[in-house]
Amino acid sequence: MENFDAIVVGAGPAGCAAAYTMVKAGLNVVVLERGKYAGAKNTWGGALFGSAMSEVFPEFWKEAPVERSVSRHAISFLTKDACLSVDYKDSHSDGSSTPGFIILRAKFDQWMAGKVEKAGAIIATGLEVDDFIREGKAIRGVKVGGEEFPANVVILADGVNSLLAVKAGLRGEFKAQDLKQGVKEVLRLPREVIEDRFNLRGSDGAVMEFVGHCTGGLPGGGFIYTNLDSLSVGIVVQLSALLEKRLKASELLEGFKAHPAIQNLIRGGELLEYSAHLIPVSGVSMMPKLFADGIMITGDAAAMVLGTGLILEGANFAVAAGVAAGNAAIRAREKKDYSSAVLQSYEQALQEIFVLKDLKTFREAPHFLENERIYNAYPQWACDLMSRIFCSNGKPRKHTFEVVRESMKGRFTILQLLSDFMRARRAM
């Protein structure tokens, strides 16, 4: 069997970015994907932010299967009956900032893999890597079934459930408290209906996030993303909390869809697909060793996901980290040395760019976001406060400050609020 310069496991954003970077520099690269096609195993909420993708594939949105560009971003508190939102709209008309793009992964990942293949890499789908070829402690390729694929370096980009990361000794199994479970439905709706309902024009799209009742008060949230002629509707809940409370995410999703504020947005939507995935959310505290002799790990497999409470970003990190891993492999080839002494340039590069910088800046965020007041007491308080302020029932009104105090009663103390505020200041 031919010896490859590099083998990439997984044809998602991290793997494709790594492979594309290496093949452009003349390396002999094969990407092994276990799905029938790239993207077959991938689902997400729905939007890609940041510039990492356009640095790899300039102006990718002009040819890639992108659903819509994000022009509206709303964050809402939900209680059983009410919804209080911050609704941000930006038409990006001056072109000064890059909008996010709403994307469906099955189509988009195939497009990415196609670009990588066209650039000269081999994309081999339907192949599940089950072990490594080892030479002492170093990894020298992979095994698929009985067949060996020797390579100078292996880049693991095989997602959150990477069994290979554990086999390679880069990390132990992730833990339930570090994972969120996402479940999602894609609902078909006519384009015009989506644009009318969500107040959108042309290719503009909306990202809507919800906190509170939709997760039964557990850490997590709900979301709606507008695709071109469908909606992605789902919820994300901390896995350990689901286990502890014995709740089903599928039932929480049904409850979310039935909420009065959501029901009208998704009315008439015809279910096309139901999907589920885990998300590693604890950032640096769960991150594995990123390299060893002959191997690097990137993307979700390495827990490169940033959750600050206001954003949850993974693909952007995966792409930037994939490029960094690719560059480290290129350097290793120049030096003809694939040991960790050279591959450590991968981690160094991540420290210099946003990937590790952001994850370190927000290292307190995952712990902060476990605070159940964020999902229970605060959404209820905020919505109750609105209801009291807007209430006109013929009785003499109270001063607004007094209404604020009254609405807090029994929910949380001023001390708790202050302490959460201070923690938020550090974490966010």
Binding site: R34, G35, K36, Y37, G39, A40, K41, N42, T43, W44, L104, R105, A106, K107, D109, T125, G126, L127, E128, V144, V160, N161, L163, E173, F174, K175, A176, L179, Q181, V183, E185, V186, S230, S232, L239, S240, L242, L243, R246, L247, K248, A249, S250, E254, L271, L272, E273, Y274, S275, A276, H277, L278
Partner: protein, 89 residues
Amino acid sequence: MKVEDKLALNKFEVDREVHIRVDELICDRCEPKHCLYVCPAECYVVRDDHVRFSYEGCLECGSCRFACDCGAITWVNPRGGFGICYQYG
């Protein structure tokens, strides 16, 4: 809409080989039976007082790996090319 009706809309390449092995005898002794709640595809159900697992609707999310404290579940991916084939994702 029931989860099984939702799954019926998904595209699967169902393998003849079962990828996740569940030792249902261990499940008999398990008290919490977290698998019944945590699997978004409801692949784990109780029938005739026993946990029964069916792999066909598995979305390969991996949640059940973290749910079982009893060591009843041996979790691997389906063979290459088999299992869930998301059309939208």
